[in-house]
């Protein structure tokens, strides 16, 4: 059975409808990529799952249980953590405080602690007392991932991990992601960078203007099909 499932998920910003009837599944241990052009609704989709946007009742299920009515701060306690687009670190907190606050609502046991996060990203240990905003973009992304891991999630929602980072840094981040996956964490990976997303994903959904325009396994999807699903050509 799918660990995470959405059925006819819709989302609105005021009167503006950003998502139309998204039906989506994520299996245990699986990595699913969500790709699509800017403004397609990918971030909105992750925010709706995480509880930051109002959703229709029963549209989001975790292990078959409806979590569509829960607030964001309850959903993370059930093991769904979001690495937000643009990292959004707490600017007045140090690196270590950012990680610790990630464990604030932790209700679940698991592998992650300050020590294991520092093992995953050794650079952060050296800079643990720096203000989070003093870090480079790549290091900030590591903090954002580490902060999400501190709640011991079963499902990690990642929004554009590679955004604005140098290729060599992106490689490090994806190496860390492989470690995280190896521990059995299921991952939803939102990316605009197709190559990276497709290399790690078991399956992919392509969004266009708030709808799923294509879905399948990476190796089954041709360039042309993806291109069409991306831009609606």
């Amino acid at each position: 059975m799918a660990v995470l499932e959405t059925r006819e998920l819709t989302a609105f910003y005021g009167d503006f409808q950003a998502l139309f009837d998204i039906t989506f599944t994520l299996d245990e241990g699986e990595t699913v990529a969500v790709i699509g052009a800017n403004g397609a609704g990918k971030s909105t989709f992750l925010k709706a799952i995480a509880g930051l946007l109002p959703r229709p009742a029963a549209a989001v299920r975790l292990d078959g249980r409806d979590i569509g009515t829960l607030p964001a701060y309850e959903i993370v306690k059930l093991g769904v953590a979001l690495v937000p687009e643009g990292r959004r670190l707490f600017s007045s907190l140090s690196v270590e405080e950012n990680l610790l606050v990630g464990a604030y609502g932790r209700r679940r046991g698991g592998a992650w602690s300050l020590a294991t996060v520092y093992q995953l990203f050794p650079m952060l240990r050296e800079r643990r007392h720096s203000p989070s905003m003093a870090l480079s973009g790549g290091q900030q992304q590591m903090v954002a991932i580490g902060r999400a891991l501190m709640s011991n999630p079963r499902i990690l929602l990642c929004d554009e991990l590679s955004l604005g980072l140098a290729p060599i840094v992106i490689r490090d981040i994806y190496a860390a992601l492989a470690d995280i996956k190896a521990r059995g964490t299921s991952v939803v990976l939102v990316e605009q960078d197709l190559a990276h997303a497709m290399a790690v994903a078991d399956r992919a959904y392509c969004f266009m203007e708030g709808r799923v325009s294509l879905t399948g396994r990476p190796q089954e999807l041709t360039r042309d099909a993806i291109h069409a699903a991306y831009f609606g050509l």
Binding site: A72, Y73, E74, R88, S91, S92, L93, Y104, R147, S151
Partner: protein, 288 residues
């Protein structure tokens, strides 16, 4: 010369009281970006509650010890029942709710306690003073008040900077949306914030009543002093707020030293001057 030294000393001590007024306002703004127009009236409410408890026979210390947590619960309830319902991008609803609250508290006090001026009876402490030599002396109560102001800041800072709950407060202040993703219920953080602010209001009310006369109408002026201290301090830290309180206190006593009628005016003018030359205050927040 001695007169001036005495004036400066008094100003610093008065600043301690103003810093107590301002600390709650500063905490509320820092965490919720909310300005509580009823803040001054809630300080006066604190003073009246302590007065009522002593009038009912409780010793002053006990009255204080009861009213501080009571005000905490009032603040918690106020935030959960009213202000949390008006959260959002538009600042008008919460602002006007606190404005309405200000009018309710002020007139409620007037109905309950009449317009008479009151004072808390603190016994011999009232006139006790500490001689500093060469004819100078400072009142003991004002000194305790300054000590309390510092103590409150030390205590709050140790909560904010050394506990998981404090981290949650600061995270919420930085980015409330992401804070929720950490399992932080921002509404309960806000309720706690208002509770803390009102507990500090009760402490401030105690020293207000112990140091000077009070009546139901003086709340708005306390709000303005508190506000000026916060802005002069610069929203960077509670120590900035203490500095801001001392600036307002000094400006008022210096003004009063020149002409007693200028006391309040000088405080306001000092505020406007700071706003012109340092719009972000003396100790601004590093990141805004």
């Amino acid at each position: 010369m001695l007169g001036w030294i005495d004036t400066l000393l008094q100003g610093i001590l008065l600043g301690g009281l103003y810093s107590l007024y301002a600390t709650g306002l500063s905490v509320i703004f820092g965490i919720m970006r909310l300005v509580n127009l009823a803040h001054g009236d809630l300080i006066v409410l604190g003073a009246f509650l302590i007065l009522a408890a002593t009038a009912a026979g409780a010793p002053l210390i006990l009255a204080f010890a009861v009213v501080v947590p009571l005000m905490f619960f009032i603040g918690y309830a106020l935030q959960s029942a009213l202000l949390n319902r008006a959260l959002g991008r538009n600042i008008l609803p919460p602002l006007l709710i606190t404005f309405g609250l200000s009018i309710i508290v002020q007139n409620g006090l007037l109905e309950t306690f009449s317009a008479d001026t009151r004072r808390l009876d603190i016994g011999p402490l009232q006139s006790a003073s500490l001689p500093l030599g060469s004819g100078l002396a400072v009142g003991l109560m004002p000194l305790i008040c300054l000590g309390a102001a510092i103590g409150v800041i030390v205590l709050l800072n140790s909560v904010f900077y050394r506990t998981p709950l404090g981290r949650a407060f600061r995270a919420t202040s930085d980015d409330v949306e992401i804070a929720q993703l950490m399992g932080i219920n921002n509404r309960s953080i806000y309720a706690l914030t208002m509770g803390i602010a009102l507990a500090v209001c009760a402490i401030a009310g105690f020293f207000l009543g112990a140091r000077a006369n009070f009546d139901p109408s003086i709340g708005p002026a306390r709000l303005l002093y508190a506000f000026e201290a916060v802005i002069i301090g610069g929203l960077g830290s509670l120590w900035g707020t203490l500095a801001g309180g001392i600036v307002v206190g000094l400006a008022q006593t210096i003004g009063a030293h020149i002409d007693p009628e200028w006391q309040i005016l000088s405080g306001h003018v000092a505020f406007l001057i700071v706003l012109v030359i340092r719009p972000r205050g003396l100790f601004p927040r590093a990141v805004d």
